[in-house]
Structures are given as structure tokens and as C-alpha cells.
């Protein structure tokens, strides 16, 4: 409908006031939201725990074992993951042959959609950062970690390195260069899926994951006591 396009843009241009100066943007209010790294971790946790996110702490080396222990404790049949990331490779390396099955998401969804919707217990993803101010994980789904990995399985396990936590979404957008170029999908996730549409009563797990488990890896440099 190129005629609609022309008509709309013509009307807007006729009304626009090109000479008018654009109001200045004062971002001081965003810049003053700033915390030291250790406090960022606490803030993120506080924000996310308030909306029922669960945390498992792990060291830079031991995180695959923490995930494995969780899966066994919960009696999960399987864990879907992206085999192409280095974290995925680490996980595969240490994963035992028996117990929870580690299932790679390495095919087009059309070939296993039914299994994805019916039979997968949990999905594992990495993150590219976190947001301290409000709590939240930043994800870049894509070829290595498909979009539905963090959405369809009832449990989402996400790996977060403490050093990647930014102050605010605003500073994260800058740090990650999202303002210049974005992958086809990028995400902020602050907790398991929730709704308050029935009498403002919070209920978790409405469409997306019922549980969000953050494997929080403490990779901050040790501060002297």
C-alpha cells in the first residue's frame, strides 16, 4: 500500500515543524544509578528473588556440577541446551551418561516441536549480562541458543557471571552495543512467567517457564577483607 504510505507521510510532513529545536535529553537520572560490583550482585538477586527467581551459587570452575546436582535433585528426565556455546561444551564434557539426559537443541524446531512442547523438562541458556537496578538477565538467543530454549520448557536454568552485571538496562544497552546492532532477538528476563490478571493475585507459570533458576557464578576479583 504505497499510496497509504505516501498519504500518511505527506500529512505528517505538512504538519511537522522542521525549524523547531529538539528538546535536550538529560540522562543524569540514569547515570546516577551506579553501584560497586559486589552491590550489583546483591541488588540483582534482591530484585529477582522478589519475583520468585531462584539462585544457585557456583564457582567459575564448579558450575556444571551445580547444574547436574540440581537436575538430579529435581529428578529431571532431560535438560535441553545449546551445544555450540563454550558453556554448552563444558556442560557436555562433564555430563554423565546416566541420570538426567542432556539434549542438544541443534535442529530446526519443526523437526521436534511436539517433543519440545510435551517432553522437555528444562532448558539451559547462557546470558550476556544482568541488570542490577531492577534485577534481570540479558539474553541473546540465536543460532547457538535458540529462542524457545528459554521459553517453552517449564524450568529455565540460566548461567550468569557476576562480573557481567551492569547497573541499569540503559548502561547494559551501551555496554553490549545493542544500540548499534541487535541480533534478531534479544531479551531481558527478570523471573518466571507470571500474571496478575485474576483479581490482581499473582500466579506464576502462566505461559512461559514456571521456574527460573539462575546459576550465579562468582567471578568477581576478591576484595581484601
Amino acid at each position: 500500500m504505497s499510496d497509504a504510505r505516501t498519504a500518511i507521510l505527506d500529512r505528517l510532513r505538512a504538519a511537522a515543524s522542521p525549524g523547531e529545536a529538539l528538546p535536550a535529553l538529560d540522562s543524569t537520572v540514569l547515570e546516577r544509578r551506579h553501584w560497586p560490583p559486589a552491590e550489583r550482585v546483591l541488588r540483582l538477586r534482591r530484585g529477582m528473588e522478589a519475583v520468585h527467581t531462584e539462585f544457585l551459587e557456583a564457582g567459575p570452575e564448579g558450575w556444571p556440577a551445580v547444574i547436574l546436582a540440581f537436575c538430579e535433585r529435581e529428578g529431571l528426565k532431560n535438560l535441553l541446551y545449546g551445544p555450540g556455546t563454550s558453556a554448552g561444551a563444558r556442560l557436555a564434557e562433564v555430563w554423565p551418561a546416566d541420570g538426567t539426559r542432556l539434549v542438544p537443541y541443534d535442529r530446526p524446531v519443526e523437526t521436534f516441536k511436539e517433543e519440545l512442547f510435551q517432553a522437555v523438562d528444562a532448558g539451559f541458556t547462557t546470558t550476556v549480562g544482568g541488570v542490577a537496578e531492577t534485577g534481570g538477565l540479558l539474553l541473546e538467543p540465536g543460532p547457538l541458543e535458540p529462542r524457545l530454549l528459554s521459553l517453552v520448557p517449564p524450568i529455565h536454568l540460566a548461567l550468569l557471571f557476576a562480573s557481567t552485571i551492569q547497573d541499569t538496562l540503559w548502561s547494559a544497552i551501551r555496554a553490549l552495543g545493542w544500540g548499534q546492532a541487535l541480533p534478531p532477538n534479544a531479551l531481558l528476563i527478570s523471573g518466571p512467567s507470571k500474571t496478575a490478571d485474576i483479581e490482581q493475585t499473582l500466579a506464576y507459570g502462566v505461559h512461559g517457564p514456571r521456574r527460573l533458576i539462575v546459576i550465579l557464578v562468582n567471578d568477581l576479583p576478591r576484595t581484601p577483607a
Binding site: 500529512r11 544497552i173 532477538n185 531479551l187 527478570s190 493475585t201 512461559g208
Partner: protein
């Protein structure tokens, strides 16, 4: 000349006021939302700084709107998102229908979108044999009953859980009656998961569109928006043309103030940034993404420097949460897609100020809406302006239906009012009559009759202030 098919807010509101359940549901909900928003903004200066920044961002975006829309189109095309333009709702609906038909799509899941409500898209698609299922829990609940949203953020806020329990037990196969909210939610989850699984296409709204990066931003808590936009092979997003901003960085403060203003949440569960369909290496995501940009009167609103502020709106709903009128009558009484204060200024501009004359006056101009608006839309000032537009056909005005709410009675009344009040002696004479015959003012006078419907007759003082000052002189302390 009275406007044709005028819609009377007064009658619908009066009916709503007689429903104690509805009034209790809204009062409780709005009191809760007010408190939750307040808790998110403990520091008034911080709030004002964030509002100033948000207002500046939205104003900037509007100032360069045509350029930004073109840039958005280019960036989207670069990302593989196909952009379509619709001047009217009808055009938009047809466009979407054709996209669906060409791909043989018959089952559709929808994420929440007020623009699609504005287009009455569901009804249109159903007429053409396409199932359009609302997947937001609140939207799903009202769709089951064939209702429209009563709030732009919480569409089923007028219902309590007993009503929803009854409805689910009747309309969902094999559902038992329960008032447990977790169980009700689980029932909806089960039905809708299957629908996401089967859907041929997903439709969503857009909270912000970023011109520079060609990105569609979606804010939600439930995950149904992600399901609708990432599971089916086809994703169609619809947005009003005002939703564009220049840069992604500018979205961050708008998002921050949106969730806090709307539901008192510092952040939503999901903030979903879509910048393209499934890439060549990707395993999932839609094969095609389309963006429909709707005008439907917005470019006309844009043409008026004062009314343009209406288009700054980011649809948070804080104005309705804080509105004493909305709180008492609920969303349906407005008989409009957008209820509450923002609806009171937007609906008449879209549909005509004459047919909505009654709605424009359905406000005490208390200003609670403007006080909380995150982008500082001066709603009361715009209401006053629209009241003028309804009764005056000013040259140069582009307002739809201007002058069609004019009546001879009102004209004469204001002329008489001005005639008396410009003449102090006439005013004094009237005051003398009103005070002397204060107990004998006929209660049947039209305005007095309305006043005394719920109040006693106002009683003027025995002698007016001016009369006392004239006879006694100024007091001396």
C-alpha cells in the same frame, strides 16, 4: 446542530454506578495500583527527572516523526522485517487478512495489542473464517465472554475470581469449578499451550519501535507475547504510527517509567526485542515478520501543536488507575477502546468531538491524571480544548467533528452568563435576589434539578459578602 448518533457516557456511567460489585472491584484494584506505583517512586525528584527525560524523548520522537518512520522502515527492511502502512483500520484489517490468506493461515494466536482492539481485528478475522485467539490471560478471559477490555493493561479487572471460575467451568472442556487462582491459571495454560503449538500465525502489538536498529520492543509478564511472536511461522506486529523512537538507548527510561507507572513493577518479566525473522543459522523463530503501521486519525491529531501531546502516550494506564471517575464507573461505561482519561482525549479526537461531547465533559478536571502521567500529557488542558472544539467550528482547526456539539441552549446560556458578569450592577442585583429569596429558588430549574439528584439544594447566605461590605464597610481588626 446536534451531532449524529451521539454516545452518552452519562447513561452508561449511571448504570455502572448502580452495580456495587463492579464498584467494589474497581475501587479495590485502583487503590492497590495507586499504592504500588507510589512505592516505586519514593523520591519525588528522581521521579520528576525521569518524567522530564521521558517527556523529552517522546516529544523529540514526535518532532521528527516522519523521518523516524521512514528510518524505521529502512532499518526493518534491512533486518528482514516487512513494513506495511494503513491509513484506516479497514485498510489494516484487509492487509492482515491478505497476509494470512496468502499463507493459508487459519489459526491465529494474539499477544495483547490495544491497536488491534482499535481495529476490531478479531471480529473482522472471525468473519473471514480465521480463529483469532487472545492469549494474554486477561484478554482470554474476556474473549470467552465476548467482552471488550475494561482497562488497557488489565483487561479483565472488572471481574472477580468467582465470576472467572464460573466462566471457566462452563466454557473450558473438562474444567472443574475452582476459585483457586493458581488452578485457574493452570487451566488457561493448558488450553493456550496447545493453541501456541498449533498456531499458523501470531499477532502482537508494539510498545516501542526503534528507528535506528529496526527493533520492535514488547513488554510483558506472561510469556504469551514471546510465544505468539516466536513459535508460529508468521509474526505480524501492529502499531500506531506514534510508537517510534530514534534510538534503543531512549527506550530504557521509557520502559523503566512504563512498568512502574502501570502496575508498580520495577521491571516486567520479559522485555522482548525483535529485530528480525529467523536467521539463516537459527533453529526457531518466525520465518516472516511483518510490521503494520496504522494511522487511523493520528496524523490529523499530529497536525495540531497542542493536541499532538496526546500522541506522547506510552499506554501505561496510570491515568485511569488514578482517575476518580474511572474508579467509580469502570472501563466499559466509556463505550470506547481506550477508557479513562487518555480515552477521554483520544476517543473524541478519533471519532469526533460532537458524537463524544458527553464524554469530554465527563471529567471534573481534577488533574490527577496529568499529575501521574509519565510523559506529562496535560489531559485537563486538552479536555478543555476539546470542549471548545466541540462547540465551536474555529477556522484552521483540524479536529474531527468540530462544532458539531454546539447547541443553541448552551450558546445562549454562556452569552447570558457573560452579559451578567461583565456588569457588576446586574451581578449585584442577581446576588440580591438569590440571597433574599434563597429559600424559594425553584428546585425544578434544570441545573438545580441535576444538582439535587444526590445533594441538598445549596442555600445562599442571607446577605452576600459584597452587600455586607458595602453596608458595614471593611472590618477593622
Amino acid at each position: 446542530m446536534p451531532a449524529e448518533t451521539e454516545i452518552h457516557f452519562r447513561e452508561a456511567a449511571a448504570k455502572a454506578l448502580l452495580d456495587p460489585q463492579l464498584r467494589a472491584n474497581f475501587r479495590r484494584a485502583m487503590d492497590g495500583l495507586i499504592a504500588k506505583r507510589q512505592a516505586q517512586f519514593p523520591d519525588p525528584k528522581d521521579l520528576q527527572d525521569l518524567r522530564d527525560l521521558s517527556t523529552a524523548i517522546r516529544s523529540r520522537s514526535l518532532l521528527s516523526l516522519p523521518d523516524l518512520l521512514e528510518q524505521l522502515e529502512t532499518s526493518c527492511a534491512r533486518n528482514g522485517i516487512q513494513v506495511h502502512w494503513a491509513e484506516t483500520c479497514e485498510q489494516g484489517n484487509t492487509l492482515i487478512l491478505n497476509l494470512l490468506k496468502a499463507r493459508g493461515a487459519t489459526k491465529l494466536v494474539k499477544g495483547k495489542s490495544m491497536v488491534s482492539e482499535e481495529m476490531h481485528l478479531n471480529a473482522f478475522l472471525e468473519e473471514h473464517g480465521i480463529e483469532a485467539l487472545e492469549s494474554d490471560l486477561g484478554e482470554y478471559i474476556i474473549q470467552l465472554d465476548g467482552e471488550t477490555p475494561s482497562h488497557i493493561i488489565m483487561p479483565a479487572i472488572h471481574k472477580n475470581k468467582g465470576q472467572i471460575a464460573r466462566q471457566f467451568s462452563q466454557k473450558i472442556k473438562n474444567a472443574k469449578y475452582t476459585e483457586d487462582v493458581d488452578e485457574l491459571t493452570a487451566m488457561a495454560r493448558q488450553v493456550l499451550r496447545q493453541k501456541f503449538f498449533e498456531a499458523d500465525a501470531g499477532i502482537s502489538g508494539v510498545n516501542f519501535a526503534v528507528a535506528e536498529t529496526g527493533t520492535l520492543c514488547l513488554v510483558e509478564n506472561e510469556g504469551n507475547g514471546r510465544m505468539s511472536t516466536h513459535v508460529p511461522p508468521l509474526h505480524i506486529a501492529v502499531m500506531g504510527l506514534e510508537k517510534v523512537v530514534a534510538r534503543l538507548e531512549e527506550v530504557a527510561p521509557l520502559y523503566a517509567i512504563l512498568t512502574r507507572s502501570a502496575t508498580g513493577q520495577p521491571v516486567s518479566t520479559y522485555f522482548n526485542l525483535i529485530s528480525g525473522p529467523r536467521g539463516p543459522e537459527e533453529k526457531d523463530g518466525p520465518r516472516e515478520v511483518h510490521l503494520v503501521i496504522l494511522d487511523n486519525g493520528r496524523s490529523r491529531i499530529y497536525g495540531d501543536p497542542q493536541l499532538r501531546a496526546t500522541l506522547r502516550c506510552i499506554r501505561c494506564g496510570a491515568c485511569m488507575n488514578h482517575c476518580p471517575v474511572y474508579t467509580r464507573v469502570g472501563g466499559h461505561a466509556y463505550e470506547a477502546v481506550y477508557p479513562g482519561p487518555i480515552g477521554k482525549i483520544l476517543t473524541p479526537q478519533l471519532e469526533g468531538v460532537g458524537v463524544r461531547h458527553d464524554l469530554i465533559h465527563g471529567s471534573s478536571l481534577c488533574g490527577a491524571c496529568a499529575e501521574v502521567c509519565p510523559v506529562e500529557i496535560p489531559i485537563p488542558d486538552i479536555l478543555v480544548r476539546l470542549r471548545r472544539e466541540a462547540t465551536h467550528a474555529d477556522a484552521g482547526s483540524k479536529v474531527a467533528g468540530k462544532g458539531t456539539g454546539r447547541t443553541l441552549t448552551e450558546d445562549l446560556a454562556w452569552r447570558a452568563w457573560a452579559a451578567v458578569l461583565q456588569r457588576p450592577r446586574l451581578y449585584r442585583a442577581s446576588a440580591w435576589l438569590a440571597t433574599r429569596f434563597r429559600r424559594f429558588i425553584p428546585g425544578g430549574l434544570p441545573l438545580l434539578r441535576a444538582w439535587t439528584m444526590s445533594r441538598t439544594k445549596p442555600l445562599p447566605a442571607p446577605r452576600s459578602l459584597q452587600e455586607r461590605l458595602r453596608s458595614e464597610g471593611l472590618p477593622h481588626v
